[in-house]
Amino acid sequence: MRRTLPAALLTVALAATAGCGGSGGGDAGKANAARGPITVWLSNNAEEVAWGKAMVQAWNAQHADQTITAQEIPAGTSSEEVIGAAITAGNAPCLIFNTAPAAVPQFQKQGGLVALDSFADATDYITARTGATAEQYKSPDGRFYQLPWKSNPVMIFYNKKVFARAGLDPEKPQLATYDQFLAAARKIKSSGAAPAAIYPAPTSEFFQSWFDFYPLFAAETGGRQLLDGGKPQFASPEGQRVAEFWKTLYAEGLAPKEKYNGDSFADGKAAMAIVGPWAISVYRDKVSWGAVPVPTSTGVPADQVRTFSDAKNVAMYSACQNRATAWDVLKFATSKEQDGALLTATGQMPLRADLPAAYPDHFAKNPAYQGFAQQAARTVEVPNVPNSVAIWQAFRDAYTESVIFGKKPVPDALSAAAEKAEQLAAS
């Protein structure tokens, strides 16, 4: 008996485990047509929360029978993990205004997303609002599981005072080519104007490559994604040039290899940073800054430089019961009026084809945003492929080993990572 009871309990537990796995499911067609109250999650960025609350208030004032309950996304290591857990638990909200494109393939595999083009007008709406850029957000099955919402086209921010101290032109800095960038970086370091020329996070998280390698890769390749048709592109000559550029920065101590706990640019520890327009309001009172496109090996003209979008999109989650309302809310929240409110409140760029023309007054009043608005039309997204996060992690590991710590030749590391990425994309 002493042994029988625990064994029986374990057997019951395992049987219960084996039995779970899920089947059945609700009636998607019925849910798609249903209307009623819905819940949405907003990011926990203060400006976005303010916009979200105002948007919800405007909707609720007109739809007493289909009210929105909004809350900030629950705290967690990252929003992707929180959303993944909510999908598994079956308590995801109808809409999340903070869905990372890199996580969409995973959420889709989990059965957590509603294909937006299951609504009759969805494809037309998305393509009309976003233009050709919307293609980047289609899943491999050709369907939209996310609505392209807003981007933060990544550019080089520089500290004008530090540049002046280093003897560099603070108004028209020469940062277009790798050679120019390296020359400026060396001057900043040797003059002691700042401890570091630039300070991207040298840590191992999968998403860090979006803020060092990937923007420059997008620029160097004229807009290629990390993978094209499931084939990795980063081991190409262009990818190697970008990697070698960063490797030089690390090898010469122009970019530190150690994690900085804080904002190195705002704290004056680094003369430059790679960030999007969200940073304008953050740095406005702290740093006298300027912004230029990311460099390329040959100095591509500024109005042709591509960059990483750093977009966040809106997705509808399969736990939603009143999907017709959710779809209407999605269109309402991404209307020209609400996009304008978002732009004004946060400085982030709605993913609209006609962005500068749609809000001429805003850009006239805020010239600092103009460069970002123009850049927003030339953004590159992460590839929408299976195992996206694992692929980025494989790339980051190789990058860390060869570029940051110089332990392996760049071509060898990138080729090995490309082989692994191709296997992951195919599985």
Partner: protein, 320 residues
């Protein structure tokens, strides 16, 4: 014949009255199923249910996951999770990162466990002799243990960053690359950090064990002319051996589950993966990358590894 009588008596059970009636419970069917003290089973039941729910079930689930192509899915989603045999284990064992993580934890344990046990014993002996400020000192050693890792990691970053206090004191003797970005030093720094952080708990275990060492042993040894070191070596160390076994096994288990420190102190297992632990890799695979089946296989291997190491520790430390 005598044997037959004995067997018959055993089958019939105890007779009413007589000496045996007051000592032995009746052997009915209830007794046969639930033992002589069913109320004990009743009292233990809540804990048994708790263990089954929070330990046996997840463990069984993890083992099941590790043999299937498993991923987390929304309730109601129709997904296929076929049996894949040892595929996940094969993937784990051929993954250089996982192998590196297990190697890293080996380095960690080799440094951390002896350091923890040695320092805890020495400090416990010292604290046991302190007369003044005893409570203050004990609390002082215990505070890091009850403080959140996230909070104290900040202090260690302040100490061991390139421009941190330690390097400023060392000046030209500071390592290059610095501690936390040095592949050879990152894990040792973490091992020392964890030893320091957990010392308070292990000191308490040793302090409790020291209370049970008879003072007569020390007095006899002193009368025989044994020095302080000889008394420590010949009396204290053998007397607290059961506590040492417990400390070593607990430190091993805690160390094998290392996660927070490399995640926070070295930015997610850096530099170049040299401080990544198996649990950190489990987190990356299972939660970030959506491969809980692979993560489960790592977890099962980790459990087996910890059991083996703990068994070896126990055999070495508890033998007479």
């Amino acid at each position: 014949m005598a044997a037959a009588h004995a067997a018959a008596a055993a089958t019939a059970g105890p007779v009413a009255g007589g000496d045996g009636a007051g000592r032995r419970a009746p052997r009915g069917r209830v007794t046969a199923v639930f033992g002589r003290h069913p109320v004990g089973l009743l009292l233990a039941a809540p804990y048994a249910v708790f263990v089954a729910a929070v330990f046996a079930y997840p463990l069984g689930f993890a083992v099941w996951m590790s043999f299937h192509d498993y991923f987390f899915a929304a309730p109601g989603a129709v997904v296929d999770r076929p049996f894949v045999g040892l595929d996940n284990y094969r993937a784990v064992l051929t993954d250089p990162q996982v192998r590196q993580a297990f190697g890293n934890i080996g380095v960690f344990l080799v440094i951390n466990v002896p350091l923890t046990a040695g320092l805890a014993l020495l400090l416990a002996v010292a604290l046991n002799r302190v007369v003044r400020a005893r409570t203050f000192l004990r609390v002082a050693f215990y505070v890091p243990y009850v403080t959140a890792s996230v909070a104290v990691v900040g202090v260690w970053l302040f100490l061991f960053n390139s421009d941190g206090l330690v390097n400023r004191v060392l000046g030209p003797l500071a390592p290059d690359p610095s501690w936390l970005v040095n592949e050879g030093l990152a894990m040792p720094v973490i091992a020392v950090f964890v030893a320091w952080k957990q010392l308070g708990f292990f000191i308490l275990l040793y302090l409790a064990a020291l209370q049970n060492v008879p003072k007569e042993l020390y007095e006899s040894a002193a009368v025989d002319g044994a020095s302080a070191w000889a008394r420590f070596r010949s009396v204290t160390v053998p007397a607290v051996r059961p506590a040492t076994a417990l400390v070593v096994i607990l430190a091993t288990i805690t160390g094998a589950n290392l996660f927070t420190e490399p995640y926070l102190l070295t930015g997610g297992g850096g530099p170049n993966g040299s401080s990544a632990s198996p649990v950190l890799v489990m987190y990356q695979r299972g939660i970030q990358q959506g491969q809980p089946d692979v993560a489960a296989a790592i977890g099962v291997l980790l459990v087996i590894g910890v059991l083996v190491v703990s068994a070896i520790n126990r055999r070495l430390l508890e033998r007479d």
